[in-house]
């Protein structure tokens, strides 16, 4: 199973599951990141530490460690 972290710039994927504690899940949820949401990766920083993704109409930045907790299937 791949995660958001494994995607490359320009890739689009659908969220299947979020592996995180309640708090981070709540946060991601309020940004629109939940099972079934479609994400596309817009930029990845040089060291892959930070990822910029588009979810719905919002653009969010998250760290690699958070990106790893978002399991996706590429679409």
């Amino acid at each position: 199973m791949i995660t958001l972290f494994d995607l490359k710039k320009g890739d689009t994927a659908t969220v299947v599951h979020i592996d995180a504690d309640t708090e981070l899940r709540d946060r991601l949820f309020s940004f629109g990141v939940r099972s079934g949401a479609v994400l596309s990766v817009q930029e990845v920083s040089l060291t892959r530490q930070t990822v910029k993704a588009k979810v719905g109409a919002s653009m969010i930045a998250l760290r690699g460690s958070e990106a790893r907790s978002i399991r996706v299937i590429a679409s």
């Binding site: 708090e23 899940r25 709540d26 946060r27 940004f31 939940r34 920083s45 919002s58 969010i60």
Partner: protein, 704 residues
């Protein structure tokens, strides 16, 4: 007169503050990033003979209590008295905004949904059917644009109308599955004729959500026996249907589906000619360059370098003029009033002290223009993105970036904006290093010394270097503090990146002039007072013996040069025996290893009141000490003549790191929550400043 109280609730960066400004002519701070407003603020207006009082609150993504500013909002909604919730949403991002709306509906208060940024929605080809949305939610919806002020009057009318109508009951309609279980529970409550201050539907939902308070309350009631079985069964149905036993997830999914369903139902999107010129796609194209993984960072550094070049070079132009005006004024005062104590107080104390501060106004304005652009264009979040990986390595949270950048302007708002960090450890760590981000008031000192050390040619580069060095020290300190004091694992970081927005000229102009006016005001009040104090402390006590002995020597002198030399020596001696001189000399041993003479030492002390006072003090001390020769009036040349280069380096380093000013310390105490932290800050910054200056001084002596 009738009076209503209205609270602004919405997700961050949807334009709540701007809307309050449009509704009531207030001047709340606006910026294009999440977390601009960090405290509640109030502003009122009169419309149709009704007093409307608006309460602007920090934005919140959900009604959870994760960070301090979210707590402020949540607490306000639950505990304060008000007549209406104005739920502001971003029309271009309706679905996500409705997630919060869903939570607000459950509060069951009078509410209006404001579809803000209608102008932007139009550009993106998004058309929301406000009437349909009103009918779906049972809440009045009004389209407005805070920028163009379209719909604002209509909104004011609606506000009064709703405040005067009886409160309706809103309900959030769940999916059929959940609604079925809700009705089953309601049926039991109804059959048993159960009475409570909450209505049956609210109770039923609370039971399904496993709300501990409601469980506890109903537990001791006879109805519980039957009720608990029904609730248990209902929950089991839900578990099977949603394939999870976590009720929180089930309801999250419900809310998500509600938001999606509602948003899609009322929104029509027209693609076509808009598609490529819409703010959204423009943003993507700009980002493709500005946060590109290879060129992003160099572009940022270049922009910062450019800003400091401008700050120095452009600021330099009016500087000579301003200095000339104050010097003329001082000379004129002395000429008209004669050479006496009073004219000296006016000319050498007040005019010189205030002049030394006003002189740097142009530099300050340029720096604040830079900060205003960073805050209002949306670039701020991009820089946070670019630097996050780097900052993370030094133990800083990605969100620390915003308070740190704010710190380049002034530490006071910076300490406050550290509230957006939800974890106290991260927040304190950030607050401890905010001081390393040299505030605007330190700029005059740097401009002065960079000019004296490097000459006009390289001063801009030096200024850039000084700021970068401050950041480097800040990062290193963060790392040290993280290892030894604020230990702990990294907090998750998720941040919204706003669309790029071109700020209106009016907004930027207002932001910059506000800073300029504040600076001038401070010069005219606080700095003026400080200059008077410095003047008194450096002119008294009277030293009749010294004066008499020098007078006889001067009279006996053979040549004019000899006389000049003696009178200058006298001034110097008088100054160094004054109160200030004595204070300086007592403490100088502490600073001697850094190369400071007593004048610099005193300036460091007066700088504790406000950093602007440093140059004011130097202005007074160095002009008093020098003879009245025209060319010596110039602060720059006075400093160049009296302070050796290595000492300048050490002074810059000390100023960069040592304790912030009084008002910043006061805010720090309040925000950190205890005097013990002030003590730590004092020890930490003093030791660090001393050590760094010591090293810098000795290195500079070797090299220069």
């Amino acid at each position: 007169m009738r009076s209503y109280k209205i609270v602004m609730v919405g997700q961050p960066n949807v334009g709540k503050s701007m809307l309050v400004n449009a509704l009531s002519n207030s001047r709340f701070k606006i910026g294009n990033f999440s977390g601009v407003t960090v405290d509640k603020a109030q502003s009122s207006t009169i419309h149709n003979a009704t007093n409307l009082c608006f309460m602007d609150l920090p934005g919140t993504y959900a009604l959870t209590n994760y960070s301090q500013e979210e707590r402020i909002t949540n607490e306000f909604i639950n505990e304060y008295e008000y007549d209406l919730i104005l739920n502001v949403v971003d029309s271009t991002n309706l679905e996500r905004n409705l997630l919060l709306t869903a939570q607000l509906l459950e509060k069951n208060r009078n509410m209006i949904l404001v579809l803000n940024m209608d102008d932007e929605a139009e550009k993106e080809g998004i058309n929301i059917d406000a009437n349909l949305l009103s009918r779906t939610l049972g809440v009045p919806c009004v389209k407005v644009s805070s920028t163009t002020k379209e719909g604002v009057t209509q909104l004011l009318d609606t506000i009064i109308h709703i405040c005067e109508s009886p409160k309706p009951t809103y309900k959030l309609v769940y999916s059929n599955t959940v609604e079925q279980e809700i009705s089953k529970i309601i049926a039991v409550l109804k059959n048993k004729g159960f009475k409570d201050n909450l209505d049956h539907r609210t109770l039923a939902i609370a039971l399904l959500k496993e709300n501990p308070d409601v469980f506890k309350r109903l537990h001791s009631h006879p109805i519980w026996l039957e009720l608990s079985q029904v609730v248990q069964k209902s929950l089991e149905h839900l578990y099977i249907h949603y394939n999870t036993k976590i009720v929180r997830d089930i309801f999250a999914e419900e809310v998500g589906a509600f938001a999606k369903g509602t948003a899609t139902g009322v929104t029509k999107t027209v693609h076509g000619k808009h598609a490529t010129a819409s703010p959204q796609s423009i943003t993507s194209r700009i980002d493709a360059l500005l946060i590109q993984k290879i060129v992003g960072l160099p572009i940022f550094l270049f922009l910062m370098w450019g800003l400091f070049q401008l700050t120095f070079r452009l600021g330099q132009i009016p500087m000579d003029g301003i200095e000339y005006v104050f010097a003329t004024l001082a000379n004129y005062t002395k000429d008209t009033l004669g050479d006496n104590q009073f004219s000296s107080l006016l000319a050498d104390g007040i005019i010189t002290g205030v002049g030394a501060v006003i002189m740097f106004l142009p530099n300050i304005l340029i720096l604040f223009l830079g900060i205003a652009l960073l805050e209002t264009t949306g670039y701020m979040a991009r820089v946070a993105f670019l630097l996050d990986g780097f900052f993370n390595r030094f133990g800083l949270h990605g969100k620390s970036f915003i308070p740190l950048v704010t710190g380049f302007g002034c530490s006071v708002p910076a300490y406050m904006s550290a509230r957006t960090l939800k974890n106290d450890r991260d927040r304190l760590l950030t607050m401890f290093i905010i001081g390393f981000m040299s505030c605007g008031a330190k700029l005059p000192i740097y401009v002065l010394f960079a000019g004296a050390l490097f000459g006009v040619e390289h001063a801009g580069n030096a200024l850039f270097g000084i700021y970068i060095l401050g950041v480097v020290f800040g990062l290193v300190s963060a790392k040290i503090l993280k290892i030894f004091v604020f230990k702990g694992k990294d907090e998750p970081f998720v941040m919204e990146m706003p669309k790029y927005r071109l700020p209106s000229l009016k907004l930027v102009w207002h932001m910059v002039t506000l800073k300029g006016i504040m600076y001038i005001k401070k010069a005219g009040t606080f700095i003026l007072l400080a200059s008077i104090l410095v003047w008194f402390a450096s002119n008294y006590p009277n030293q009749p013996k010294l004066e008499a002995s020098y007078n006889t020597q001067i009279e006996a002198a053979q040549t004019v040069e000899e006389q000049d030399r003696l009178s200058q020596e006298y001034e110097e001696a008088r100054l160094s025996n004054s109160y200030l001189g004595t204070l300086g000399k007592v403490t100088t041993p502490l600073f001697a290893p850094l190369g400071f003479d007593w004048k610099l030492t005193v300036s460091i002390f007066t700088g504790l009141a406000a950093k602007e006072v440093v140059v004011a003090t130097m202005g007074v001390l160095y002009t008093l000490g020098s003879d009245v020769d025209e060319s010596n009036d110039k602060l720059l040349s006075a400093v160049s003549e009296n302070v050796p280069p290595a000492v300048m380096v050490s002074f810059i380093l000390f100023v960069m790191i040592y304790l912030p000013c009084m008002s910043a310390i006061a805010v720090f105490t309040k925000e950190a929550g205890g005097y013990k932290y002030v003590f730590y800050l004092f020890v930490f910054t003093s030791v660090a400043a001393w050590l760094v200056s010591f090293v810098g001084y000795n290195l500079a002596r070797l090299l220069i």
